[in-house]
C-alpha cells in the first residue's frame, strides 16, 4: 500500500509543502513561487495543490500531515514575551494576535476548511523538523546534528545526534538568545530587510577588515558573551526584537556609532567593517560549537540545518576549522525546508519506516511539458524558434553566452530551495570583465558589492577552486564558498568576489544532463568550463516558476534570449508593448 505524507511549513516565513511517497520525496515547493510574493507566509494552498497534482492524487490519499512546529508552544513563548515586556509590547501584540487567533492556533480547522482534510495531523518540534530535514535525507547513517536559526518554539540553537531513523537533540539555547537574530539585527542595522537579506551582509563582509583589529569586532563582543563550548548569551539591552517590530535598540546604534542605514543610501567602509565583524563573530561561535559537538558526539559526520546553514562563507570553512570530516546540508536549510523535515520525520521516526532516500538533487518543483510551453508561446503569439535536438540547443546557447548575451534558462522541474540551480537560472559569460555590470544594468539591478555565482561541472572543480577533498555534496546546492585559484581569478572576473572566492555550484551529469553538457560546450569554445548562474527573477520577486513568469521577466528586463525547453525566444523579436497589452496578456 502506498503511504503519502504531506509536510507543511507556514505562517512565519517561507511557507512550503512537500510530499513523500513511501519515504521518497516526490514533490516540494515554496508558496512564494506560485503567489509571486517573496517569502510568502500564507497557508501553502498552491504548493499543496501542486504536490497532489504531481502525483495525480487527492487529499483523501494522504495518510498523515506533518506540521513543522508545535503552535501552542510557540504561542506560549509569544505570550511570555508580552508578560515580560509589558507594557512596551502593545503594538506587536495588536498586530500579531489576530493571526494567532484566526490561523495559527487552529491548523486542523484550516486543513479541514481549505483542503477538506480530516485525517491525522502530527506536530513536530521546530528544531526536530530542522534536524530531520537534513539528517534523514543525508547520505549518513550516523551524524552529529547542529540546528541554528532565528527562533522556533523556544529553541534558537540545538545540537544532537542522528542514528538510523532516530534523532535526539541533547542541548539547546533558548530565546531571546539567538545567533540568527543577532545576524538579522545587524542586517536591519545595515538597512537591509530581515529574513531576506542576511546573505547580502554575508557578501558585504568580504569587503571589510576580517581581522581582530577591526574596531567593530571588539564592539560586537560587548553584545555577546561566548563560552568555550560555543554557547552564548546576548546582552538584551542592545536589542528590542523581543517586544518591538524592529531589531536594534538605541544603545546598539550608539555602540556602532550611528543610526540605522537608510535603504538605498551609500554603503560605507564602516558598514563593511560591521558586516565583517559580524561574520567573524558568527564564525567564532559556530566553530566553537562544532568543536564542542564533535567532542560530545564522537562522530566525524556532520549535518547542519536552520537558516544559519545558508551562511555559505562559513560552510566552506567547516572542514578546515573543525575536526569534522564530512558535512551535509540540504538545499533549503531554512524554515522553508522544514516541510520536508516534518514529512520525513513522521515517516522515518514516528512511523519507524526504513530510510530509503538520499537527496541528490533539488529538482522537486513543477514542470511544464514541451506541448504546454508550445501552446503558451502560440496562444500569446510569441515569436520563437525551435531547436531540432539537444545538440543544437546546447551549441547555440553556448555560443550566445560566449557572445556576451544574457540568457534566461528555463528547463525541467523547478528547484527546491532559495537557489536557482540550473533549471530557473540566468546564465552569462564569466570571462567578461564587464559582465557583472551588464547583468546589474540589464536584469538584476542589485547592490554592486554582491557577487555572482559560478557553476562548474564536478569533474572540473579542482582545476578552478581550492576546495575540500573529497568535495562536500552541499556544493551541488550552492551552499559553500571556496577560494578561486589565483591563476584563474583574472580569467573569470565576473564570478570572483573581492576576496578571491566564489560561491560555487557543482553539477553532476546525472542531476541535470542538459545543464552539464551546456557548461562543457561553453568550456570547449571558450577554454573556461564555468558559467555565471544567477537566479531567474526580477529584483524583489521570487524566482520564476512558469513559462509565463519567465517570459514576463525577460520582457521586463534586459535578458537577451530565453531558452525555454526546446524553444528559443529573442527579446528583440517580441516588443514588450505586445505583452503588456490586454489582448496578449490573457494567459
Amino acid at each position: 500500500m502506498t503511504t503519502y505524507i504531506l509536510g507543511l511549513s507556514c505562517y512565519y516565513h517561507d511557507s512550503s509543502a512537500a510530499l513523500l511517497r513511501n519515504g521518497i520525496i516526490v514533490a516540494a515547493a515554496q508558496e512564494e513561487r506560485f503567489t509571486r510574493k517573496k517569502h510568502d507566509t500564507s497557508f501553502p494552498i498552491y504548493s499543496i495543490n501542486y504536490c497532489l497534482q504531481s502525483q495525480n492524487i487527492t487529499i483523501d490519499d494522504i495518510s498523515y500531515i506533518g506540521f513543522y512546529e508545535k503552535p501552542f508552544l510557540k504561542f506560549e513563548r509569544v505570550l511570555f514575551q508580552h508578560l515580560e515586556m509589558f507594557p512596551w509590547s502593545l503594538r506587536i501584540f495588536l498586530t500579531s494576535m489576530p493571526s494567532w487567533i484566526n490561523e495559527r492556533l487552529s491548523l486542523p480547522k484550516t486543513l479541514s476548511k481549505r483542503l477538506g482534510y480530516k485525517g491525522d495531523v502530527l506536530f513536530v518540534n521546530h528544531h526536530l523538523a530542522h534536524a530531520a530535514s537534513s539528517f534523514l535525507v543525508s547520505p549518513f547513517q550516523r551524524a552529529a546534528i547542529m540546528t541554528v536559526d532565528g527562533v522556533g518554539e523556544w529553541t534558537t540553537t540545538a545540537y544532537g545526534m542522528g542514528d538510523g531513523n532516530n534523532i535526539q537533540l541533547f542541548k539547546e539555547i533558548r530565546f531571546p538568545h539567538s545567533i540568527g537574530l543577532l545576524y538579522s539585527t545587524i542586517t536591519a542595522y545595515l538597512g537591509f530587510t530581515v529574513n531576506n537579506s542576511e546573505y547580502k551582509v554575508m557578501g558585504l563582509s568580504s569587503y571589510g577588515k576580517m581581522s581582530k583589529r577591526n574596531p567593530y569586532y571588539d564592539k560586537l563582543k560587548k553584545v555577546i558573551d561566548i563560552k568555550e563550548d560555543g554557547s552564548f548569551c546576548l546582552d538584551m539591552s542592545y536589542f528590542v526584537y523581543h517586544y518591538k517590530g524592529r531589531m536594534p535598540s538605541k544603545k546598539f546604534c550608539e555602540l556602532l556609532g550611528g543610526p540605522v542605514r537608510k535603504p538605498g543610501s551609500e554603503v560605507t567602509h564602516q558598514h563593511k567593517d560591521i558586516a565583517a565583524a559580524l561574520q567573524m563573530i558568527t564564525e567564532e561561535v559556530l566553530t566553537k560549537m562544532l568543536c564542542h559537538l564533535h567532542r560530545e558526539a564522537k562522530c566525524d559526520e556532520l549535518v547542519i540545518a536552520g537558516g544559519v546553514g545558508l551562511n555559505s562563507v562559513y560552510n566552506g570553512k567547516i572542514l578546515h576549522k573543525t575536526p569534522f570530516r564530512s558535512v551535509w546540508i540540504q538545499p533549503d536549510p531554512g524554515d522553508g525546508g522544514t516541510s520536508i523535515g516534518a514529512a520525513v520525520y513522521v515517516y522515518n521516526a514516528v512511523l519507524n519506516k526504513k530510510r530509503m532516500y538520499h537527496m541528490k538533487s533539488s529538482y522537486l518543483g513543477p514542470v511544464q511539458s514541451t506541448a504546454e510551453i508550445r501552446s503558451f508561446l502560440k496562444s500569446n503569439e510569441i515569436r520563437h524558434s525551435e531547436f531540432r535536438n539537444n545538440k543544437e540547443l546546447i551549441c547555440t546557447t553556448a555560443r550566445l553566452i560566449l557572445e556576451n548575451n544574457v540568457v534566461g534558462w528555463f528547463q525541467g522541474r523547478m528547484e527546491w530551495g532559495p537557489r536557482a540551480l540550473g533549471n530557473r537560472s540566468i546564465l552569462a559569460n564569466p570571462c567578461n570583465t564587464e559582465m557583472k555590470a551588464i547583468l546589474n544594468l540589464k536584469v538584476k539591478h542589485r547592490e554592486l558589492f554582491r557577487p555572482f555565482a559560478p557553476v562548474v561541472c564536478v569533474d572540473d572543480v579542482s582545476k578552478y577552486f581550492d576546495c575540500d577533498n573529497p568535495l562536500p555534496e552541499p556544493t551541488d546546492f550552492m551552499l559553500m564558498v571556496y577560494p578561486i585559484k589565483k591563476e584563474f581569478q583574472s580569467k573569470i572576473p565576473a564570478v570572483t568576489h573581492v576576496d578571491g572566492t566564489g560561491r560555487l555550484q557543482t553539477i553532476r551529469r546525472f542531476q541535470n544532463q542538459l545543464y552539464y553538457d551546456l557548461i562543457k560546450e561553453f568550456g570547449k569554445i571558450s577554454g573556461v568550463q564555468i558559467l555565471i548562474n544567477t537566479s531567474f527573477n526580477i529584483r524583489g520577486e521570487p524566482i520564476v516558476c512558469t513559462p509565463r513568469d519567465a517570459y514576463r521577466c525577460m520582457m521586463g528586463t534586459g535578458i537577451d534570449y530565453l531558452v525555454m525547453d526546446r524553444f528559443l525566444v529573442k527579446r528583440e523579436d517580441n516588443p514588450s508593448h505586445m505583452w503588456d497589452s490586454e489582448r496578449y496578456a490573457k494567459d
Binding site: 508545535k70 503552535p71 501552542f72 508552544l73 506560549e76 505570550l79 511570555f80 514575551q81 508580552h82 508578560l83 515580560e84 515586556m85 509589558f86 507594557p87 502593545l90 501584540f93 495588536l94 494576535m97 489576530p98 492556533l105 491548523l107 491525522d120 495531523v121 502530527l122 506536530f123 513536530v124 518540534n125 528544531h127 526536530l128 529553541t155 540545538a158 544532537g160 532516530n166 534523532i167 535526539q168 537533540l169 541533547f170 542541548k171 539547546e172 539555547i173 533558548r174 530565546f175 531571546p176 538568545h177 558573551d225 563560552k227 563550548d229 554557547s231 552564548f232 548569551c233 546576548l234 546582552d235 538584551m236 523581543h242 513522521v346 521516526a349 514516528v350 512511523l351
Partner: protein, 83 residues
Amino acid sequence: MNMMQKFFQGFRRGFASYSHDLAGIISVLLLTLAYFIGVGLASMFSRIFGKHFLKTKRSKQSRTYWKDLNLKKTPIEEYYRQF
C-alpha cells in the same frame, strides 16, 4: 432593474467595507483591553513575586549557556498534541 442591481451591489460593497473597518476597530479595542487587563495584571503580579518569563540576564560566571533539551522520539500520541 439594472440601476437597482448596481445600487444594491454598491450598497453591499460599501457595507462590507464599513463592517470590515468596524470589525478592525472593535478587534483593536478588545485586544487592547485584553492586553492591559489580561497581560498587564498577570505581568504585574508576576513582577511582585519576582517571576521572570524570559531569561534576559547573563551570568558571566556560569561555564556554559547550553540547557538540557533531550528532545527525542516519543509515542505517536505525543505528536497529535500542539504543545
